[in-house]
Symmetry: C2
Subunit: 331 residues, 2 copies
Amino acid sequence: MNDTRFDVLTIGNAIVDIIANADDDFLVGNEIVKGAMNLIDADRAVMLYDAMGPAMEASGGSAGNTAAGVASLGGRAAYFGKVADDQLGEFFRHDIRAAGVHFETRSLQTTPPTARSMIFVTPDGERSMNTYLGACVELGPEDIEKEVVASAAVTYFEGYLWDPPLAKDAIRLAADIAHAHDRRFSMTLSDPFCVDRYRSEFLELMRSGTVDIVFANEAELKSLYQTASFEAALDAVRADCALAAVTRSEKGSVIVTRDETHAINAFPIETLVDTTGAGDLYAAGFLFGLTNGRNLVECGHIGSLAAARVIQQFGPRPRESLKALLEQEGL
Amino acid sequence: MNDTRFDVLTIGNAIVDIIANADDDFLVGNEIVKGAMNLIDADRAVMLYDAMGPAMEASGGSAGNTAAGVASLGGRAAYFGKVADDQLGEFFRHDIRAAGVHFETRSLQTTPPTARSMIFVTPDGERSMNTYLGACVELGPEDIEKEVVASAAVTYFEGYLWDPPLAKDAIRLAADIAHAHDRRFSMTLSDPFCVDRYRSEFLELMRSGTVDIVFANEAELKSLYQTASFEAALDAVRADCALAAVTRSEKGSVIVTRDETHAINAFPIETLVDTTGAGDLYAAGFLFGLTNGRNLVECGHIGSLAAARVIQQFGPRPRESLKALLEQEGL
């Protein structure tokens, strides 16, 4: 295995988040599934934005948040994702580069505009997302920078990429390149409803060995195996994938391999503000640890720390240096 | 005096804030005057944005924040300001309307784009602003909605409007309409360097009776009268303007009329996060009180409460309902 240029390359839908507080009645009245990623079209985007309260904007996108998290921890990160050549795209590009992430995916020069997700944060801190994919639908195999994949210790993608039409071809190409260079390939299941849309394909990715490391939260894992039993789901994923890290909110996370199981406590927090980015930052911490020689338990703790940080602020990417936080916590 | 349709109309530069943390060395290295509003051109905007860390965006603009604050307190607010027909303009328009503010100023259909201010927040919570005026330079007398001015109990504008070329004509027109309808006209001195640029004109606005109520912070008032003595500055403003409210950060505020002086304590805070919007929200609270039958001391307390709220969060407009906060505090 040659030297790596990047610890973690992530691939995902490049999205600017539009974030506002809302109450549960608002979600019900607008038929928004709470806690989920709701895909919306351009007309519904206009309708929901008209109904939305005053908002703030922040670069987001699940895998984009993970790349920014890896860089904030001091890791070498890269990202592939498609924005348009507009003001939102400029924000996205600036923010991910300013975080220290390699980002060279060409902008779309035509419509549709850069993707946005309207995120409603309820008083319990839960986020409910409404995503208009915009320019993301144009991400395809031509956006795979082969030398970046070849030189990244881990390439990680979001299950959400099965929603746009061409990205899955890009992912299969990236997996071939990664494995040809003895690199590891990883995914997150992203969302229970996303799992429901692509269950058989996600299982095939794992069972065929295309994916070596899978991230999921409890709801996503149960959805994948269509079981109400967390234990049954854990046993199933252990058989399907070499390494799985499963987050369980305040219950922490569980890391499983074929013959190991590690339960990791959640990192204590003072005030839950906004859960946006929790899973993305857990993956960032875990993959930073994994690509920097830490054992699985340490990887889990770093993931928990990064997730705990981001849920105590408004917005999907931590504003403080996670590297400094890591040193402060002796991790 | 006829019934009012609005409590407070505000007029200002319509700006989207781009906010990031930075340290003091960054300010020095980039020749940014700390705590001030630094005007920048398009080239410097590009240079500074390239140097800026990962950011978040929020609708801002001093008078825009004040209008949003009045509405959040339960007041009837209107706003005049010029955005372009672009994504930033769409955010600005959405956010101020979603806050409940009347906003009908026509968007600029050509370049330049919507104004943005790159705000660097240092660890002490101080904000240093770098404003590219963009579409704001096109605000002019044709943007004064006469019937709105005529039906607003107070019309308030920001001294910053003396920077773009046409806005001062718009302000003089608005003042004539307001006074013809027995309404009050108010301004904020905005920034010590802005005062330095337009000292004689600001004094003339007050001494001629164009402005009935002036807002300033201590540094701005001292700059106006070119004195190091706060007491001397207070005595001077008392002679020049019927009513002045002067904020002094953690020392609270002082309200003066020809023959009254009221010292108001600052509202206690837990953690100072970002001072952006402090003065704007003080003005919002004060003017909400004044147009809703409160006495001057109560006006000052409501201003202090609103200011205290916004400096404990990242971003220039409070995300929680100030009306609920007011009730909670028995104000």
